[in-house]
């Protein structure tokens, strides 16, 4: 259980986190979303005691991080930035951390096997790829078998196999009753791995709800219709009160009418339908819709953001 209460952090004139309050419950994966510069990493650093808040508190299992006696046994953290001495081997890096908590060497071997770094355990970390570095970070997070996991962009740099592995691992750990807070800017990744979402923008809370609710709340439902008689069908739908946008001479995007009703209309008039697909907004679209007003680095001032581009506007600003 992670509790954040009226947390604020200023860096000079910039308010990175602004009166943020939320709670992360055990037993499920909680996604932590926000455009770049929204304050995700700062919030995580505040939770982990790496920064001091100006006001408010962040507690883990009721305690501030710096008051935890053996913190790695309570909280496992993966930070976005690398936190490894490049001249040290993976094994020694984990051993250094294990020794501070009184964990045996056997545990180091276990987590190395768990993340699949056995072959390179005694090689310098400096030569690791991004994905190997992420695996090492996950190994460090899991070292103390913690009840709480705080993971900042854990799938960054992982190959598809690694992404699936991390996704399953997070679900498995949450299923054991652990608290899992995972930040990401990959919305689709969150859609499949997180049950609960905390969305922030410009340091403020935008949404704290389940993933399904989040999508439902902010999606504009529409139906994609394909028909050789698109023009005739468009007229019918308009007279029934639907909104029609012609994508081309055979495809329509219909709003305001549910798919079954459109099907019934076409059947009544004997029109051929090639496709009738209800369109659900993806998490990505829902996210962009919700955070539109709170994007820190906005690209739309210079050029209109084409909605079909996969990445959120902030991604392209990098």
């Amino acid at each position: 259980m992670i509790e954040v209460d009226r947390l604020s952090k200023r860096f000079g004139p910039v308010t990175a986190v602004d009166g943020l309050s939320f709670a992360v419950q055990p037993g499920r994966v909680t996604g932590f979303l926000g455009p770049n510069g929204a304050g995700k990493s700062t919030t995580m650093r505040l939770i982990l005691g790496l920064d001091h808040p100006n006001t408010g508190t962040a507690t883990i299992e009721g305690k501030r991080y710096r008051d935890l006696v053996e913190p790695l046994r309570v909280v496992g953290a993966l930070l976005e930035a690398k936190a490894v001495h490049t001249g040290r081997s993976a094994y020694n890096h984990l051993l250094v951390l294990a020794q501070t908590q009184g964990l045996p060497r056997k545990r180091v071997d276990e987590v190395i096997d768990l993340v699949g770094l056995r072959d390179v355990a005694h090689k310098r970390v400096g030569g690791f790829s991004l994905g190997m570095g992420q695996r090492l970070g996950l190994a460090a997070a899991l070292l103390g078998d913690p009840r709480v996991l705080v993971l900042d962009e854990p799938v960054n740099g992982l190959d598809p196999e690694g992404i699936v592995w991390v996704r399953n691992l997070m679900k498995y750990l949450a299923g054991q009753g652990r608290t899992v807070l995972v930040s990401s800017h990959l919305m689709n990744e969150m859609a499949v791995s997180a049950e609960q979402l905390i969305v922030i923008g410009r340091g403020r809370l935008i949404a704290d709800c389940s993933t399904d609710q989040f999508i439902a709340r902010s999606s504009e439902r529409s139906v994609l219709v394909k028909s050789p008689d698109a023009a005739r069908l468009a007229e019918l739908i308009t007279t029934e009160g639907g909104l029609v946008k012609a994508d081309n001479d055979q495809a329509l995007t219909v709003g305001g009418l549910p798919a079954p009703r459109i099907g019934e209309l076409a059947a009544r008039e004997g029109l051929v339908l090639h496709e009738l697909t209800p369109q659900l907004a993806s998490l990505e679209e829902a996210f962009m819709e919700l955070t539109r007003d709170s994007v820190e680095y906005d690209t739309r001032t210079s050029q209109p953001a084409p909605t079909e581009i996969e990445a959120p506007p902030a991604e392209r600003a990098r």
Partner: protein, 378 residues
Amino acid sequence: MTAVTPAPPAPVAPASGAVRFGRLLLSEWTKIRSVGSTVASLGLLVVLTLGFTALLTWLTVSQWSKAEPSQQRQIIADPVSTILGSGFQLSQLTICVLGVLVITSEYATGMIRASLLAVPRRVPMLAAKSVVFAVLVFIVGELVAFPSFFVGAAILHGKAPVALGEAGVLRAVIGSGLYLAVLGLFALAVGGLVRHTAAGITGVIGFVLVLAPLAQLLPGSFGKHVHAYLPSEAGHLIGQAHQGPTTCSPPGRGWACSACGPRCCSARRPTSSSAEMPDLRGSRRQPRHQGMACTTSPRCWSPWRQGYGESEAKVCCRCSSFSSAWPASSSGGEGSPLSVASSLSTATWTCSNGSAAPTGSGTSWSNAHGGGSCSAHS
């Protein structure tokens, strides 16, 4: 591939403070032994010290006939100073570099974040790091100091014989290793303050090598005062068999202490801006020294020092203590600024004539000294 084996359960009662500090020491030891820079620096220390001790003492012997008679007398009076002064002056730089690297490499690589996640309270971590590093450097320093002495003594034997059993020699050899440990702590403290490898190394080496000659250029007695406080002076003095009472407590320790203090303060704040940094100059303010004087013959005055404040004070070339005219205004009337560091420590040192000097016992020590070491080279 999703199975997670649980870690061994944490002990029911949390580990005591001592046990936890022991774990920190073990962890810091793993840190320091598992990076290449430690092995490289300490290896270089061994090679440079032994190599330059052998080279420079050999040069001294081979150029013996060309040396000034006064120079020859100096070497004969205190051969251990010649032996230990040669190699260590150069090889101490490796300790400066390593001391800075031990802490700044954590900041440079981001390892500090992992360290702080494991140990959220910084002062115990810095303390463990300092202890492990100082002990390591002390041990390696001793392992270098003794062979250096034996090598140098063997080469110098024909001209200026010296044995480990002679008065002050063993202390000087052990002191050389101790000086390296204290210098390393100083470097570590500076590294912890600036948190930047290049800046830290430049700063420490500049302090040790550049500031000493520069201080001598300062006009009047000012340069003399400054010079006497420099850490390199402590290393120079502790490597001598015969020295003044004031050097029994090397000022280098004062430097390490004064630098460690603000480092710990600044460590409490993870994002310390310059405004939050404690005033280093304030903490370097030295307490008043205890008055002590050296009874020496005029022959003993260091030539370069005579240019500065000759009229008011003279400095003994061996022990760096000052003649009777040294600041009359201070308590006790006479003495050297070198003695001030003694008030920072409660350690007891054995001086060259074998008597122990508890810090602060200015007068009696001065008397003992007067009849002991300094008169030996007058």
